[in-house]
């Protein structure tokens, strides 16, 4: 039974582009967000706590690695399904979507794509159920937009490697059971490896004092002479291509997720503007408010189309990094702008936690920076368009 007044904008009848199965997937996650996320998320965000119990619930729901095969405990769905799941989760909160993005695209995806069969069987079913929490270590204190410059190193020590270095801005770090970490070997080649909580010399301190993604855990990963068995190296990838493929998957999900955050803001603002009266008429009757609503609806509709088309391309394995960057960049900026404009419709009420705009707006400041900054994505698309890399 539906327990929410939420109405998703579908101005161009994009639902006709989805299969019945996609709609069931979307309504499942939407229902779960209404029941389990919406009633509590504001309180967790205010207290800067991650609602850890939701992790297990997302696992039971099948929100982790939904596009990976059934034999590893996943649902074997397509990329459109993954996108819709991300959209609905982020309607709840970017922090919840971030937890699911990381688990799916940055932990399960590389273990499935680059891992050995033993690694897949050992980790994926428990990650899918949410029994294990994963995180992804690429960004470093001195290397954000330039991950290829990473300083984290591993050296050969017989049946294991020794890992030294530090990673920063890591979602789920302090609660993660495993970390997929990227480090350079003695030849300077980037390798991926699975580091487990409890390995001697591995710590994961939490980053406090954030004004963004407050209902999500962010922290560091610190490796001080950590002995990692060689069996934990991801055997089937070498070089920066590995983490970049992970990021492509995650960025694709963010392109959808941002639409969810924008839809939530738009819906709240539309309903408020029809109920709240000033000068004896609803706010929605004023031209300046209609402008805000019409512009938000226009931008959301464009973003929906972009996300949908990118999903089709992903399904055909044709989406380029440049296209993914374009969609992630456009849709996150769109959502941030929609959050900002719709908050103004609510006047002073818009700054309170009774409405979702400020929380989404603050969250989206992270989303517009992580997984490739707003600026860097232009250079990825620019490289694609011109054939010239502007990074070096």
């Amino acid at each position: 039974m539906s327990s929410s007044n939420y109405t998703a904008l579908d101005y161009f009848e994009l639902d006709e582009l989805l299969s019945e199965e996609h709609k069931i997937i979307r309504s499942s996650i939407r229902e779960w967000v209404n029941k389990s996320v919406k009633p509590i998320i504001e309180d967790y965000a205010q207290r800067a706590k991650f609602p850890l119990h939701l992790f297990k619930e997302m696992g039971e729901l099948g929100a982790f690695g939904p596009y990976l095969p059934e034999q590893y405990g996943c649902a074997g769905l397509d990329q459109m399904a993954y996108g819709l799941i991300m959209q609905e989760l982020e309607r709840g909160d970017s922090g919840i979507r971030s937890a699911a993005s990381v688990q799916s695209s940055l932990v399960m995806y590389p273990i499935y794509t680059f891992g050995s069969e033993e690694q897949r069987q050992h980790y994926l079913p428990r990650l899918a159920k949410g029994e294990l929490i994963g995180c992804f270590g690429l960004t470093e204190p001195n290397h954000g937009s330039n991950p290829g410059g990473m300083e984290t190193r591993l050296r050969d020590a017989g049946d294991h490697v020794i890992l030294n270095g530090a990673k920063m801005w890591i979602t789920n770090s302090a609660i993660a059971d495993i970390a997929v970490v990227w480090a350079k070997d003695e030849q300077g080649i980037i390798r991926g490896l699975i580091v487990e909580k409890g390995m001697k010399g591995f710590t994961a301190p939490e980053t406090h004092g954030k004004w963004s993604l407050r209902a999500s855990i962010t922290g560091e990963l610190v490796f001080d002479e950590v002995k990692v068995p060689k069996a934990n190296l991801l055997p089937n990838i070498k070089g920066l291509k590995g983490p970049m493929m992970c990021l492509n998957s995650a960025r694709y999900g963010i392109a959808w997720g941002a639409v969810g955050a924008a839809l939530d803001c738009y819906d709240a603002a539309l309903r408020y503007s029809l109920e709240r009266k000033q000068f004896n008429k609803p706010l929605a009757a004023f031209q300046l408010q209609q402008k805000k609503l019409a512009e938000a609806a226009t931008e959301i509709t464009k973003a929906q189309l972009m996300a949908w088309r990118l999903g089709m391309l992903r399904n055909d394995d044709k989406a380029t990094p440049g296209q993914i960057s374009m969609a992630k960049r456009n849709n996150v900026a769109m959502a941030l702008n929609v959050a900002h404009e719709t908050r103004q419709i609510l006047g002073a009420m818009g700054i309170t936690g009774d409405f979702p705009m400020m929380r989404h707006m603050m969250n989206l400041e992270s989303v517009i920076t992580y997984e490739g900054t707003h600026d860097i994505h232009l250079l990825i698309t620019g490289n694609d368009l011109t054939g010239i890399s502007a990074f070096v």
Partner: protein, 247 residues
């Protein structure tokens, strides 16, 4: 034991209902369709029984009378945990028509569960009519049902208390709130597995509807709310007396 759960395809309960041009049916455009909430509870209870009693329950089948656009609702029922679905390809014209269609497929089931009412046109008669057509005993307003050996332990809400019954199969139970815990949200694996579960489409039996809707009307729009300041009690009484005419 085989369980049949009757599934109504109804507009989401938050839908703003509009009618067609001559006000004889709900305007389906833009409507999100869901499993009738009482039927969803019946299905949830069937799944709970299967989980609790394992092999004693051979399968759970869901059935509805509707056109192909209602299949999404049946797929959701399969995703939640039903084993098979039956769609009888006809418009659900009225209660007797629907019950007659269902009677053609329902005889083999030991336990039939029907929701106490339908959230669309507020119909309540299909369950009872189906029991009559099958010449099978039925019990209404069931708020608890469990299996004990070959018997069903049933509780009903009655005026001022509860009634406990022990019933043998076959049986049709018309169920209401309280029958199950919260409806379940289909998990992604369930949705994927539902693809492979049978959804059998059956041609409609020869039957006639005995009733037809003449027209519907929406409730009158709420009148504007008049606010009276807290220290103006005399004014409030005057308004209630002279304008609202309730005093």
């Amino acid at each position: 034991m085989k369980i049949l759960v009757l599934i109504g395809n109804v507009p989401d309960t938050t839908t703003k209902i509009k009618f067609n041009a001559d006000n004889t049916a709900i305007d389906a455009s833009g409507v999100q369709w869901i499993i009738n909430p009482w039927d969803e509870l019946a299905l949830t209870r069937a799944i709970e029984l299967k989980e609790a009693h394992g092999a004693a329950i051979e399968k759970i089948v869901v059935a509805n009378v509707g056109r192909s656009e209602t299949e999404a609702t049946l797929r959701k029922a399969l995703a939640v945990g039903a084993d098979e679905a039956i769609r009888i390809d006809a418009d659900p014209l009225d209660a007797l028509y629907v019950a007659t269609q269902l009677a053609a497929v329902a005889a083999d089931y030991d336990l039939i569960l029907a929701g106490i009412e339908n959230a669309d046109y507020n119909g309540t008669a299909v369950g009872g009519m189906l029991a009559e057509l099958l010449n099978r005993k039925s019990v209404s307003a069931v708020s608890g049902i469990d299996l004990e050996g070959d018997l069903l332990k049933i509780s009903r809400e009655i005026d001022g208390g509860a009634q406990q019954l022990s019933m043998s199969l076959p049986l049709l139970a018309v169920v209401q709130k309280g029958i199950a815990k919260e409806p379940r949200i289909p998990a992604m694996r369930g949705i994927m597995m539902a693809r492979k579960k049978p959804l059998n489409v059956i041609a409609a039996a020869d039957a006639e509807a005995l009733t037809a809707f003449e027209y519907f009307e929406l409730p009158p729009a709420k009148a504007a709310c008049k606010m009276v300041e807290e220290d103006q009690a005399a004014s409030l009484i005057r308004i209630l007396h002279e304008e609202a005419k309730v005093l």
